[in-house]
């Protein structure tokens, strides 16, 4: 019992908040579902590549609560996200916007695929048409072939 008390104290004092806490969950399941899906796309600013949904940092908890406040106040998803981006910068968005230079990021894959397809098509055409017959056998090779065939 003593051990348990000591443990509890240790745990309480040492443990930061812990991902989504039961006390954060909104009563309205539809609203909560929206909050969850938005917070899966928002970055915890003090963590290494963690969403505020997964993170146990207290800043992430603050953001989760802020997000839920906005949603409860009647914000649309886009409004709530814009509100947070206004305050924390686009660094908070795990899904980078598709505008400006970010277009390079989004279009890089498709562009590379098209370029690759074009190259591959050219290559395939060459492989099909360059069916030039191999160079004729030299005298030595003809002789060797005849030898092999005879045996």
């Amino acid at each position: 019992m003593k051990l348990r008390a000591a443990l509890l104290i240790a745990l309480l004092s040492a443990t930061p908040a812990w991902a989504v806490q039961p006390d954060e969950v909104l009563a309205d399941p539809a609203l909560e579902a929206r909050a969850r899906s938005i917070s899966e796309g928002l970055r915890c600013l003090v963590c290494r590549n963690e969403t505020i949904d997964d993170s146990d940092a207290s800043l992430a908890r603050d953001l989760r609560l802020l997000l839920r406040e906005r949603l409860t106040a009647g914000d649309t998803d886009a409004d709530a996200i814009a509100f947070i981006v206004d305050r924390y910068g686009e660094y908070v968005l795990l899904n980078p916007t598709a505008n400006g230079v970010n277009l390079i990021l989004w279009l890089a894959g498709p562009a590379m695929l098209i370029a690759g397809l074009a190259t591959a098509a050219l290559y395939l055409r060459r492989r099909r048409t360059s069916a030039a017959p191999d160079a004729p056998l030299s005298d030595g090779e003809t002789k060797r072939l005849a030898e092999i065939l005879e045996n």
């Binding site: 991902a19 989504v20 806490q21 230079v101 590379m112």
Partner: protein
């Protein structure tokens, strides 16, 4: 004393690597057998010396020698023995030592088993391998020496990060490194072939087993890491598109492409220069991965600025090796003229499509990983690229790959008729469409991901089975069944690996689409329902571990009144590092994992509890293991045993390291 000997052995290995990288290269150029013959003993000596050095550092960790700075920083007397040993590579310097150890192991294996290689090729391969050794040994000795001593040793160490104190993660780095560094062999073969100016079927046959072995290790290493994240991090996520994960995933994608293109070189003598390029890039991505992980540049530009020495050094290594190899490539690639001729619909074209999709998907991962850095450096925008981007930008390529795979893998070489091919696949196509529709009808209001994943999974697995069945010829069923076991191992391996891909694809989609989650406060004795199960919190007690304190909960899981299981999720606290970890309790079954986590005690009484039902979770890793197993079966194919000597046993001997 032993530590100093280890240090000395490392310096000696550096000297030998310099010899290994120069003399055989000169010997091969001037065709002087004596100089070329230096390569093999040098490679073996280098391996033995680094092996000794590694053993010395391990000794330091096992005996908790806190006069060694590295041991102090990463170990503790109370740490279990397994993690004292794993602590050797659980840090920057030690993991680099493991890196060069494996590098020299591959070099030594090439010396041991490369007996049937042409002497000049063997000398050049070993010289290039030696050159990589020179670069990394210099990196270690000048910037990251693991053998530095402390003037006043402390009484105890700082312990290893508790998250890393886990059996899954203890063996994750060695496997990953066997894969990363294994690709150095493909690189060495590619550069040697460029210097020789000759790439032919025999070359492909030599290089493929090494690539295959590296790919197998990468597959296992990545699967282990993802499995660890799943059970250790406490919310059942298994892949986060973290830069460090991407660092291992990029070489995996490229080496998968390389495996396939090497087949075309081997069987049809086409795609030669492309295959060489892939071999160079595969190792290039290994180096990029090492750079990303070791310099910390992606996590934060500032981490890089704080310790620029190491980052710049790896960047230089990357620049020299990639720059050099790619220059050589542009000079020599035109010499690699293709011989095989094939039509647009053929196995060759299908493999070109495979390569295209794998290479582009790798490129997408690459640009997503470095984009935050590029945007900050050049466009002054501080932004993030996370899971939503990768899911959107990467997934379509995998879907396309899965759609093409069953068709492409059965196309005949040279020329084929697409319509004739569809006959054996007709049943598979129908099955896939039916399962998509069925799953779609069963679930309501979920994303389309689940049905598509199920359909693709069925399609790919069926394709793999139909492929095998086709290979048994046209006879009655019993004859064909008996032939099944006598098919070449390469065919069996191919089908196994392809089926594994289908299984993983399906499981990833299922997990993403159908996971159920519940978060709540539970008082002792209370219960709640999740996915048809009743979970009751029956007890919470404190337990002392060897180097941690744990809170252990007891949860009774029942279904319709019948006891399913009793689970004991834990929450641990490691006092030395002041860090808590969660140890989720996972009840596994064929169709789902029940994932239970105990959280913090609440002010209002009771405990925070999280519960998940993760459908088909274990299939993700089962599929990955099938891929690795398929690789292993393929590696044991006769043509490698006959043609490449004992390379197979080289690969087999590796896991023991």
């Amino acid at each position: 004393m032993i530590i100093e000997l280890g240090h000395f052995a490392l310096i000696l290995a550096f000297a030998i690597a310099i010899v290994q990288s120069t003399l055989p290269m000169i010997g091969a150029a001037q065709n002087r057998a004596a100089l070329m013959a230096v390569a093999e003993p040098a490679a073996i000596a280098q391996f033995l010396l680094i092996g000794f050095s590694f053993a010395a550092l391990t000794y330091g960790f096992i005996t908790s020698d806190f006069s060694v700075a590295l041991v102090t920083a990463n170990s503790h007397t109370l740490k279990p023995m397994l993690y004292k040993v794993a602590g050797v590579w659980g840090n920057h310097e030690g993991s680099l030592l493991l890196w060069v150890l494996i590098l020299s192991l591959f070099g030594a294996s090439a010396a041991w088993f490369g007996g049937n290689l042409p002497p000049t090729l063997r000398a050049r391969v070993l010289a290039v391998q030696g050159l990589i050794g020179v670069a990394f040994l210099a990196f270690m000795l000048f910037t990251s020496n693991p053998f530095l001593r402390l003037v006043t040793p402390p009484l105890n160490g700082n312990d290893l990060n508790p998250l890393l104190q886990d059996p899954g993660l203890a063996f994750h780095p060695p496997f990953l490194y066997l894969g990363y560094v294994g690709l150095s062999m493909s690189f060495s073969f590619a550069v040697a072939a460029l210097i020789e100016g000759r790439v032919d079927a025999a070359w492909a046959r030599w290089v493929r087993p090494w690539t295959l072995a590296a790919w197998i290790f990468l597959t296992i290493g990545i699967a282990m890491g993802s499995w660890w994240a799943y059970y250790e991090l406490g919310w059942g996520g298994f892949w986060f598109w973290d830069p460090v994960e991407n660092a291992s995933f990029m070489p995996w994608l490229i080496s998968a492409a390389l495996l396939h293109s090497a087949i075309v070189v081997e069987k049809r003598e086409a795609l030669k220069s492309w295959t060489i390029l892939l071999a160079i890039l595969a190792f290039g991505f290994s180096l990029i991965g090492t750079f990303i992980v070791r310099s910390g540049v992606i996590t934060s530009v500032h981490a890089f600025a704080n310790d620029p020495e190491r980052g710049v050094f790896i960047l230089m290594i990357l620049g020299v090796f990639m720059g050099g190899a790619l220059t050589l490539f542009t000079l020599r690639a035109s010499k690699m003229e293709a011989k095989g001729v094939f039509s647009t619909v053929s196995r060759e074209s299908a493999l070109v499509a495979n390569n295209l999709l794998l290479a582009v998907s790798c490129f997408v991962v690459f640009i997503g990983t470095i984009w935050p850095l590029v945007a900050e450096l050049f466009f002054n925008r501080k932004l993030s690229v996370g899971v939503p981007f990768f899911n959107a930008a990467f997934t379509p390529f995998m879907v396309a790959l899965a759609l093409l795979l069953p068709i492409g893998s059965q196309l005949p070489w040279k020329r084929a008729s697409a319509t004739r091919l569809l006959v054996p696949l007709k049943t598979g196509l129908i099955l896939a469409v039916v399962s998509t529709a069925l799953v779609f009808a069963m679930q309501t209001g979920h994303s389309a991901l689940g049905p598509i994943g199920a359909g693709l999974g069925v399609w790919v697995v069926w394709g793999a089975l139909a492929d095998l069945w086709q290979r048994t010829g046209r006879d009655n069923i019993s004859t064909r069944l008996s032939r099944l076991g006598r098919l070449p191992r390469a065919d069996l391996g191919k089908a196994t690996a392809h089926a594994g891909f289908g299984v993983t694809l399906f499981a990833v989609a299922a997990m993403n689409a159908w996971s159920i989650e519940d978060i709540r406060v539970l008082k002792l004795g209370e219960s709640f329902q999740i996915g048809g199960y009743d979970v009751q919190l029956t007890d919470v007690k404190g337990v002392e571990g060897p180097n941690y304190q744990a809170t252990v909960a007891e949860m009774r899981v029942t279904r319709a009144g019948a006891l399913v299981t009793t689970q004991f999720p834990e929450k641990r606290f490691y006092p030395v590092q002041g860090m808590p970890t969660t140890e989720a309790a996972i009840h596994q079954s064929l169709t789902r994992d029940l994932y239970l986590v105990i959280g913090d005690p609440q002010k209002s009484g009771g405990w925070a509890v999280r519960a998940y039902v993760k459908p088909f979770a274990d299939w993700i890793w089962a599929g990955a293991l099938m891929m690795a197993l398929g690789g292993l079966i393929s590696l044991s194919d006769r043509r490698y045993r006959a043609a490449a000597g004992a390379k197979r046993s080289a690969a087999k001997g590796l896991p023991a390291e």
